[in-house]
Symmetry: C2
Subunit: 345 residues, 2 copies
């Protein structure tokens, strides 16, 4: 529908059941607002003041081992705690419930200067292995019903330390983003006995216009309903409900896809591309969750250059998410980018 390349419209997100307002005619808007600090590449592979580097002392007092590969530990400033006393507020219109959980930090590499796109494929595979281990072990704790794996990259995304790392927050409740997706995945599964995301990527692989990367086991695309300018989603081509169930060939392709996608991101504006990334997968609440199909999403804020981002503010907070460039334009730009990192050319 070419009308939608140029005219305002709303698109429906089949996973969350929410809408996004798209204003493709507005990309000409000049920007006189805030600009982000340009990124300065790191060179030191070890920083004696970094609390994530091997052998250093952490803020909480603990000491990191001389780790050589992906390494995880309990967050010194965890937002969730395993020994939270249980309690409820049920006072008319005031409703609250205590929440138990556990927060971990995952260092992706001992090398302070790296990021996922600059890491070797097999070192990314080691990160994936650790994600699998943590998902399984944390998920097995009796009080953990959901395990959220994510990465905040870049100081624009609230990351306070450039050492390559991500986080895992495991908790009692099913958070609402997962609850929304579970509902829509279930509805489709119950009706069609097929994974909603499997049907979706089949449709996208035919149309091709939103595909960024395709290999034997994975596809990376800009979803039709993307909110962030260069938002993408990595989806396995097989219906796999959680990351622990990948076979070895899939694990290798997952790591390849992460590397290739994040290289494209860095190449887009010749900078270390900021984003929040997260893996959505089956909750660990002992239900079967046949409806679930795991995927990893990237929400990057940059819009026009290394220093101009999209602000999700007034209208977006009070009404609907809003974007200017279309998902198709974003996918085309990403698809056409080089697979070699700009710093290595």
């Amino acid at each position: 529908n070419t009308v939608f390349n140029e005219n305002p419209h709303r698109r429906y997100n089949i996973l969350t059941g929410e809408w996004v307002l798209v204003s493709p005619h507005r990309t000409k808007r000049p920007w006189q607002g805030k600009v982000e600090k340009p990124f300065i590449p790191l060179t030191a592979t070890y920083d004696k003041n970094c609390y994530l580097c091997p052998t250093n002392t952490r803020m909480g007092g603990g000491q990191n081992p001389d780790y050589k590969s992906a390494y995880s530990f309990v967050n010194d400033f965890s937002a969730l705690l395993s020994d939270t006393p249980s309690g409820t507020v049920d006072d008319n219109l005031l409703q609250a419930k205590s929440e138990r959980g556990l927060c971990k930090v995952i260092c992706f590499s001992p090398n302070h200067s790296l990021t996922l796109p600059l890491m070797e494929e097999n070192d990314i595979e080691a990160v994936i292995s650790l994600w699998q281990k943590e998902y399984t072990e944390l998920g097995n704790l009796s009080y953990v019903n959901h395990v959220q794996i994510f990465e905040n990259k870049g100081d624009t995304m609230g990351c306070s330390n450039p050492h390559p790392h991500g986080q895992i927050w495991a908790q009692e409740s099913i958070p609402q983003e997962i609850a929304k997706k579970s509902k829509n995945l279930s509805d489709y599964w119950n009706k069609n006995k097929k994974s909603l995301l499997l049907s979706y990527i089949e449709q996208e692989l035919k149309l091709k216009e939103r595909i960024v990367i395709e290999n034997e086991h994975f596809v990376a695309l800009v979803p039709f309903w993307a909110i962030w300018p260069y938002e993408t989603m990595i989806v396995p081509k097989r219906h796999i409900k959680n990351i622990a169930l990948m076979n070895n060939a899939e694990k290798t392709d997952f790591s390849k896809t992460i590397k290739e996608l994040t290289i494209k991101y860095d190449n887009l504006f010749s900078t270390s591309f900021p984003y929040s990334a997260g893996i959505h997968q089956a909750p660990t609440d002992n239900e079967a969750h046949e409806e679930w199909h795991f995927h990893m999403s990237f929400y990057p804020p940059l819009l026009r250059s290394a220093t101009v981002k999209k602000f999700m503010v007034g209208y977006e907070m009070f009404a609907d998410a809003q974007r200017d460039i279309t998902a198709e334009q974003a996918a085309k730009s990403l698809r056409e980018l080089d697979r070699v990192h700009y710093s290595k050319r």
Copy 2:
């Protein structure tokens, strides 16, 4: 429940039906991340390069009149347009619909250097009168079913021009934030024949711990389920479904409350406090909407100081909103602040 002053828990938002994770024990976390640029007070009441100052030429080519009070015009870079051709995408899992609408800019004052807390009460009342006029006139357009009034203040909140101004986006669809609130307000109305927000503020006025300001016709409070560190909500004490239905005494109190609240905000960290503010009220879709009770919410990002904000990133994007200080702590801080602006003491 004092357990909740110190332990992680989730709170329920009766308006949206969503949850927020509260981690009150985590306020001790040190911050080594991004800091915002400190605010530099403006002194010039007129800026020849500002496209919002009276008599200046705008980016779209139009010229501003020599306006003396609140003044509105159609946004030169509107995200919504009145002449959008209608269309639909209904291709299996791809669903989209064209969206008609209109975007306006409202200059709050001809004086380039002011902000709401620095304006006179009767000049704020002139802004409220213009909001009423626009809500009514835009709402009367046959294709407009919702009118969203909002302000993005400060460059941290994506505002690209310090001249005091807000925006209005009027459109065909009911945006999802309003749809969620309509549902919960309706459910309560149908069951109790009473406004949900009226019952809520009655309960809060008894408890007092989350109240920031109370006068004859309005209350400003930190809602029990607040997401942003110093989030507040201004609610009329009478069940009024939209801003056009306020009487004169209410209008005066509304303007007083806005001034007093925004002065407290500026005084909190001795800076021009950034926020997005918005008014939620009855849609203009020709339904009765007896369930609606208008309110104005403020979502300010600052957390610890004039330069350290809360980032709603990884966990918050993929799972649940999360906050560290409790609503009660935030309300206490705001309540105890001076009613005289720090720059005038």
